[in-house]
């Protein structure tokens, strides 16, 4: 699973730094370093819609440090059905 977090000006001001921090912690707490690659992206072209991230080919906007865990869990579950 490849995650890109936009760190362009708008996203940065809306909290990319904290979102990346949460993601880094999630990945390390769950020992998913091999399965998940965390990346930054310069501008995903959705500056108006809150922080934008891309998981594989899926764009997600309006991401916050509060909802990122839920988004991550859902994406993980979709790719790894129990």
């Amino acid at each position: 699973m490849k995650i890109y977090v936009c760190i362009g000006s708008s996203c940065h001001l809306k909290g990319s730094y904290d979102i990346i921090a949460v993601l880094k912690k999630l990945v390390s707490d769950r020992g998913l370093e091999k399965e998940v690659s965390l990346n930054a992206s310069f501008c995903l072209g959705h500056c108006m819609d809150g922080v934008t991230i891309k998981i594989d080919d899926q764009l997600i906007t309006g991401v916050t440090p509060q909802n990122i865990t839920e988004i991550f869990d859902r994406a993980w579950a979709e790719r790894h059905p129990a």
């Binding site: 362009g8 000006s9 708008s10 940065h12 001001l13 930054a40 501008c43 500056c47 108006m48």
Partner: protein, 391 residues
């Protein structure tokens, strides 16, 4: 014709403890063929010293800039400076550098300040001085053949008095200052940074309570170096390619700022943008890499910080320059623009990013044009040749 040399100057002053005004003064005039630098140290401290040193440095630099001789300058000062009512003398010591841009020759004229230090390849070199008496003052004159890389240090006596009677019995003596300057020297250190390093040491020796006005001024002989910076896409996207072609045809280093801008540069160069995910400073977005570009950063936030750093750097009192070692995008730009560049070309796109018009953002991102004008003005204050191109 051979390109002229670039004379880079920089200085810093510490005020005597409790004084609002500095009694030392540095005046620089950048002439077509010659760079003039005068450091004057007025008798006493505070207002009186400030007036004496201001008059002295202004009179000397203005007269020299208008082709008068050293003799005429010194006689004028001797005859016009106000006389101190307590000491019955009119007095300000001075050091003058006249650095010629085509030949590299430097004329050093010294009157009672600590002797000018010349560092070549980081080692202090001795030089002859010819004594001349003008208007009753003993003046030391040196004609010196400078080379690229030479660094000349002028000081007021606050440096050699640093620490007298407290941490050092006799103050910080000249051979020790020379030894320290040699130890701290690095070939890429700017004049301003070198002056800052020595001033910092003085501040420490004074234990943050300077007993005298202390000034260090440096002149560094350099070749021109170009650094070019691009921010913002063109208003008309049809111009993308033309702008990129012109920008990358410029000699020197290339900095690209902004998400959209780096995307269009990446398209032009046919190379992907690889952003780093590591924040060095939580307030400054991480940098990115594009093959063929020397530095890629985010736009307005990073440059906002660069302007703040530049404002601090041009003030003559702030010795704190954390950007010299830090690796965040703004610090990296600062190093290239403030230290490496002598000529700066700024490419500014006027396209408006709709997301930046959002009034709910904590910072006004639409200030790009204003920011770039401020940056250009600050770089000019650092004696860089700056040109702005809008598109």
């Amino acid at each position: 014709m051979m390109e002229k040399l670039y004379m880079e100057s920089g200085w810093l002053s510490l005020n005597k403890m409790g004084e609002e005004l500095c009694g030392d003064r540095v005046e620089c005039i950048n002439l077509e063929n010659c760079y003039l630098m005068v450091l004057a140290d007025g008798l006493g401290s505070g207002v009186k010293a400030n007036i004496l040193s201001t008059l002295t440095s202004k009179i000397i630099s203005t007269m020299l800039a208008n082709d008068m001789t050293i003799e005429e300058c010194v006689e004028t000062i001797a005859n016009t400076l106000p006389v101190c009512s307590q000491r019955q003398v009119a007095y300000s010591t001075f050091t003058i550098l006249q650095a010629f841009k085509t030949t590299g020759e430097v004329i050093i004229t010294q009157f009672d300040n600590p002797q000018v230090i010349i560092l070549r390849d980081g080692k202090s070199i001795p030089y002859p001085m010819e004594e001349r008496v003008i208007a009753g003052k003993k003046i030391q004159i040196t004609h010196f053949q400078g080379q690229v890389g030479d660094l000349l240090l002028m000081m007021s006596d606050g440096t050699i008095h640093a620490g007298v009677g407290t941490v050092l019995n006799f103050g910080w003596q000249l051979p020790e200052i020379i030894e320290y300057a040699q130890r701290k020297y690095k070939p890429d250190l700017s004049a301003r940074s070198m002056a800052g390093i020595i001033c910092d040491a003085c501040r420490d020796l004074y234990m943050d309570m300077p007993g005298d006005d202390t000034t260090v001024a440096a002149l560094r002989i350099r070749r021109h170096r170009e650094v070019n910076l691009m921010i913002g896409p063109p208003v008309d996207p049809a111009q993308d390619e033309e702008i990129c072609r012109d920008f990358f045809a410029l000699p020197g280093k290339h900095i690209v700022c902004g998400g959209t801008t780096s995307t269009l540069v990446s398209r032009y160069l046919g190379q992907p943008v690889n952003p780093s995910i590591d924040y060095i400073d939580p307030k400054i977005p991480p940098i990115a890499f594009i093959k063929g570009v020397d530095l890629v950063t985010e736009g307005v936030i990073t440059l906002g910080r660069v302007v703040e750093l530049a404002q601090k750097f041009v003030s003559s009192q702030d010795t704190d320059t954390p950007w010299r070692t830090s690796k965040d995008g703004a610090s990296l730009i600062a190093r290239l623009l403030f230290e490496e560049a002598t000529k700066v070309e700024l490419y500014v796109g006027r396209a408006i990013n709709p997301a930046h018009q959002n009034p709910n953002l904590p910072l006004n991102l639409s200030l790009k044009l204003r920011l770039m004008e401020d940056l250009a003005a600050l770089l000019e204050k650092m004696d860089k040749r700056v040109s702005l191109r809008y598109y």
